[in-house]
């Protein structure tokens, strides 16, 4: 079980978290075509490589956050608060957490 660095609590067992999914921007439901909307609902890039995804620290601080994770090695190179939160707080970069394996870690 991998460790996931929560930006609020630090590295914790991934079983404490709920995987929310690959980060996708929500289209405006007033203008999006049904095709665009269903892409938002169902289509994911699912790369074998770096991906930006959202997690929820269910058994911890109960905050949503975003990580960049390598899907082959499970290396995490950045963990921060949701982009929308950074827009509205005094921490425009988001609170950056440490990287467990370093930015260059890739598949072994």
């Amino acid at each position: 079980m991998m460790l996931l660095p929560c930006p609020h609590c630090g590295p914790r067992n991934s079983s404490e978290f709920r995987y929310v999914g690959e980060g996708t921007a929500r289209p405006d439901p007033g203008t999006a075509t049904i095709g665009v909307w269903r892409d938002y609902l169902y289509t994911r890039s699912n790369p074998a490589g770096w991906t930006t995804e959202n997690w929820f620290h269910r058994a911890g601080c109960r905050r949503y956050f975003t990580v960049e994770r390598h899907t082959v090695s499970n290396a995490v190179r950045a963990s921060h608060r949701p982009a929308a939160q950074a827009r509205t707080t005094s921490d425009p970069e988001g609170l950056s957490a440490g990287t467990e394996r370093g930015p260059d870690a890739g598949p072994g």
């Binding site: 609020h8 439901p29 007033g30 109960r62 949503y64 957490a97």
Partner: protein, 956 residues
């Protein structure tokens, strides 16, 4: 008749280092006969001392099998102990009174009917399973029946108790897997460097090969054991095994031999892992290599030196290395006549063993045929690269050493001992010491990095720079060894699965010419030994058959678990929390039938649900609805959140009003429903379904945290903070008058769909909303949880003359079905859109945005969805079971029944169900297919409500 075997003809005189305690003897039974063992004997060592040589029958061919490795993995030594099958007989220690039986033998171990399989062996060839399970399919049950009789396992008793299994979490800095000399030295070095060390050893004591390797080894062993005992910071677990290594050194350890606990699964998060598993001796492939009496050199040394058991009388030793020579010397000292030492280094070879139930002679490649009862082989080693494999490494073959080595390891995994190289004991200990120091250093570094990733408010501790420079780890020399896997004859490769070299060659000829394919096709390496003994031989056979090399053929991937884990250990203790309302003692006093609803235990009924229904319709009833999800919402932007979550509009909800709302997910599927009331200008209380409360909390937080962090809303889950009681029935207002203070209950001042706060039965801080899930005049009281029981009993006492009675979930389900109120999850499923659920009236598509809006727009334009309707069987006594299909023609599915009950109020059966669009018109007759095959007609009703469709009662 029971035979008493109390002699140990093969037991040797007392020897230094033996692990048996001759002062204590135990009696136990083997296939019904009584035997004697010393304390410290394994089942197999005790039986071998008594002269027994056959311990099981092989998996497919039912050939007699004896001991091979005299260790945990010994494939021929799996036995049944009492009601426990598949016990490792060469590992499990004898206990007084133990009942041991052979597995896979019928009618007896010595005379096995199924060994006729040997004659029909050609039917049990490579790919047997795949070929058998082809056509014709009608014979599959017959095949299955036959295969079950031949399965190798023991007998599982259905009446066994679960026993006490345990779990533990551990957070060591360093885990050392393997308690041989290298593991012990590494553990001591790491602990001396300040690390908290967990040292795990599969066998019953530390020591590895030092336990059987002579006086010098015993001297070294004593020193190392003393050092481990004297060093602070080492937790030692023996008879325990590291079964798997997962991401970030999440390491599973199965711990046995514990007082009061059968097994314990330790889940350890280690910063560094040191794999020191030693080496496993490899069997040699030749004709008759599975005959009882053909054993490995390490097995003979274990038997002699650890258990003082003489493995035979006259031996031929086939040796390719110094350990084989040492085994020959051990045998000689133990009084075994060495008929010949066949030296592989001089090109000598053994070709076949003759004998059925035991070795009678062995034939060499020079034509010599030697009479003997024991053949000892020493042809090389396999490094158990399981843990390094699980760390992402693919082991690399070194032809010079004739074995695989780890090739590239992550920073947090280190290796020492035989898996890393050879050398003398001093070199081994020097290497292990350096590895232990480095493991401690890296663990400190990883610990600092992890602490630094935790936001700190006060201390800078843990943010210091990296530690000292890396510890230099000396290279362990790698000893040359002949590449020796197979004689010129065919023999057994996988003893557990009964797969021979002939089967592997046949698999290659049939086109399964990669090791991964040949493995799956023949099931070689897939039995209980999981490749520890047979992988490299299988690779060598496939390499030879494909004209390739071992390097090019590669090895199979070792996956967790390293050793089998019992299901009991995985299950562990039951850690399922349950929740009760504060009124539970009262429910128990009234012998309520409990209903498990998620984590909640609720009263299903108090004896007669139909009577409970009638009492609600005529008098007044109380139901405990504490599990309802409840959320306190405060702040100026609550209406924005409500508008986002619900399909309805919320901007105009006045203070003191409640509204029923429906939530959809972003795909337009009904997610939850409930009422939300406005208690104060900036304070709302939301209720959700009981089962949806936990998910709804996360769903609301998602909107607040990720989409609209600018909204000022404070969200607090209150589900268990309030006890909730629904008071329902025509006399409910009268009952409420007797308990409510500060609340005017007149219909004018407190009409339907309003909320009031006040004092109930003397309890401050209650709120009451007037709603009616049951279809009757009703009030839902929410009181601070610790007063729940008080308010409930007060209502019961003060309502005695009104004939107040409790009602349970079943009565509520009938009441709401009479009233046509759907339940999310019961009458909807993961594909039910709001329009299909007849909730279109609530959807306000003119709102700018809300969850699911885009899909609901689409649904509103595409009305070909199945729709929820009220249904009544034409025969009022027929109650179609829930999930019965509605069909059209002979087999077209055109809907289903989602809820059905006998209505005590109407005296007939009533249903809710989904029907195809063209069947939705009121008055349509549909056909319901019952599970018993009958088909009955039912009528689509004008509305969902079967009773009081105009709602006059609830508004009264």
């Amino acid at each position: 008749m029971q035979v008493l075997v109390d002699t140990m003809p093969m037991r040797l005189e007392v020897r230094r280092g033996e692990r048996i305690d001759r002062r204590h003897t135990f009696g136990f039974t083997w296939n019904g006969d009584r035997y004697t063992a010393y304390a410290g004997d394994t089942i197999v060592s005790a039986l071998a001392a008594a002269g027994e040589r056959i311990f099981s029958r092989s998996f497919k061919l039912h050939r007699p099998r004896g001991l091979l490795t005299a260790s945990y993995i010994d494939p021929g030594c799996m036995v049944q102990v009492g009601d426990e099958p598949n016990v490792r007989g060469a590992h499990r220690l004898v206990e007084s009174g133990m009942t041991v039986r052979a597995q896979n033998a019928w009618p007896t171990l010595r005379f096995d009917v199924k060994s006729a399989n040997q004659a029909v062996g050609r039917f049990l060839s490579a790919g047997f399973y795949y070929k058998t399970f082809m056509k014709p399919e009608r014979l599959w049950p017959a095949y299955e029946n036959v295969l079950q009789r031949f399965s190798a396992g023991g007998v599982v008793s259905e009446s066994s108790t679960h026993g006490l299994y345990d779990k533990r979490y551990a957070h060591p800095d360093v885990i050392v897997a393997g308690g041989g000399p290298a593991g012990m030295a590494a553990a001591v070095a790491a602990a001396e460097a300040g690390a908290a060390v967990l040292l795990v050893e599969e066998e019953h004591e530390l020591g590895g090969h030092l336990r059987w390797a002579g006086p010098d080894a015993l001297d070294a062993l004593e020193k190392l054991r003393a050092a481990v005992a004297a060093t602070d910071g080492i937790e030692t677990m023996t008879d325990s095994v590291v079964t798997g290594r997962y991401d970030d050194n999440w390491v599973a350890v199965l711990q046995r031999s514990l007082p009061h606990v059968k097994e314990r699964l330790v889940k350890a998060r280690a910063k560094t892992l040191v794999a020191a598993p030693g080496l496993i001796e490899r069997p040699y492939v030749f004709e008759g290599n599975d005959t009882p009496g053909v054993i490995l050199s390490t097995a003979s040394r274990r038997l002699i030196n650890m258990f003082a058991v003489k493995p035979g009388h006259r031996a031929v030793v086939f040796s390719a290395n110094a350990d084989g020579d040492a085994a020959a010397a051990d045998l000689e000292r133990a009084g075994v006549e060495i008929a010949r030492l066949v030296d592989a280094r001089k090109g000598e070879d053994i070709v076949r063993v003759s004998g059925g139930k035991g070795v009678r002679s062995v034939e060499c490649n020079d034509g010599a045929k030697i009479k003997c009862d024991l053949v000892v082989t020493a042809v090389g080693w396999t490094a158990p690269t399981s843990l390094t494999n699980m760390s992402g490494d693919r082991p690399a073959y070194n032809p010079h050493a004739g074995r695989f080595f780890p090739s590239s390891l992550p920073d947090d995994v280190l290796v020492t001992g035989g898996i890393a190289g050879d050398g003398n004991l001093d070199q081994l200990l020097e290497h292990a010491h350096a590895v232990g120091c480095e493991a401690a250093r890296r663990s400190a570094h990883i610990g600092r990095r992890r602490r630094a990733a935790v936001p700190q408010s006060n201390s800078d501790e843990g943010r210091e720079g990296p530690g000292d420079s890396p510890v230099a780890i000396p290279e362990l020399p790698i000893a040359g060894h002949p590449e020796l896997f197979m004689s010129r004859t065919h023999g057994v490769v996988d003893y557990s699965e009964d797969v021979g070299s002939k089967d592997l060659v046949a698999a290659v000829k049939e086109g399964y010419d990669s090791i991964e394919l040949a493995k799956r096709y023949t099931t070689a390496t897939m039995g209980p030994a999981q490749g520890k003994l047979e992988t490299v031989n299988a690779v060598a056979v496939v390499a030879a058959a494909t004209g390739s090399t071992i390097e090019a053929t590669g090895t199979t991937v070792w996956r967790p678990p390293f050793n089998p884990i019992s299901l009991g250990a995985l299950a562990g203790r039951i850690f399922e929390p349950v929740m009760f309302s504060p009124m539970q003692p009262w429910h128990e006093g009234r012998r309520a039938e409990p209903l498990v609803a998620g984590t909640w235990i609720r009263p299903d009924h108090y004896g007669d649900p139909a009577a409970e229904v009638r009492n609600v319709r005529t008098n007044v009833g109380l139901i405990d609805v504490t599990p309802l999800g409840k959320f306190d919402l405060r702040g100026p932007d609550v209406p924005k959140l409500l508008n986002q979550l619900y399909v309805n509009k919320w901007s105009k909800l006045g203070v003191g009003s409640v509204r029923y709302g429906v939530m959809c997910a972003e795909d337009g599927v009904v997610l939850d429903d409930g009422v939300t009331g406005r208690l104060e200008p900036d304070r709302y209380m939301m209720s959700t379904t009981s089962s949806g409360a936990a998910a709804l909390w996360e769903w609301m937080e998602n909107w607040l945290q990720t989409e609209h962090p600018e909204w000022r809303v404070c969200l607090t889950p209150m589900t268990s903070a309030y006890a909730s009681i629904n008071v329902a029935g025509p006399k409910s207002r009268e009952l409420m008058r007797r308990v409510a203070e500060e609340i005017d209950l007149s219909p004018e001042e407190f009409p339907y769909m309003r909320v009031r706060t006040g004092r109930i039965a003397g309890v401050d801080g209650c709120f009451v909303w007037r709603i009616g899930f049951t279809g009757e005049l009703g009030y839902e009281i929410h009181v601070p949880a610790s007063y729940g029981l008080h308010v409930w009993t007060t209502l019961i006492e003060l309502g005695a003359d009104l004939n107040v009675q409790p009602f349970g979930v079943e009565a509520q389900r009938i009441l709401r079905l009479e009233k046509g109120h759907m339940i999310v999850g019961q009458d909807t499923d993961g594909l039910t859109g709001a329009y299909g659920a007849d909730l279109g009236w609530a959807v306000k598509l003119d709102k700018q945005d809300f969850a699911g809006k885009r899909e609901l727009v689409w649904q509103s334009e595409n009305d070909d969805y199945f729709r929820l309707v009220g249904l009544q069987p034409v025969d009022p006594s027929e109650i179609p079971p829930e999930a019965s299909q509605i069909i059209e023609g002979t087999k077209q599915i055109a809907g289903r029944i989602t809820s059905s009950r006998m209505s005590p109020t109407l005296g007939r059966s009533i249903c809710l169900g989904f029907v195809a669009p063209h069947l939705g018109a009121p008055g349509t007759t549909v056909t319901v297919h019952l599970p018993d095959g009958r088909r009955i007609p039912a009528t689509v009703m004008p509305q969902l409500a079967h009773f009081d469709p105009d709602g006059g009662r609830v508004r009264g």
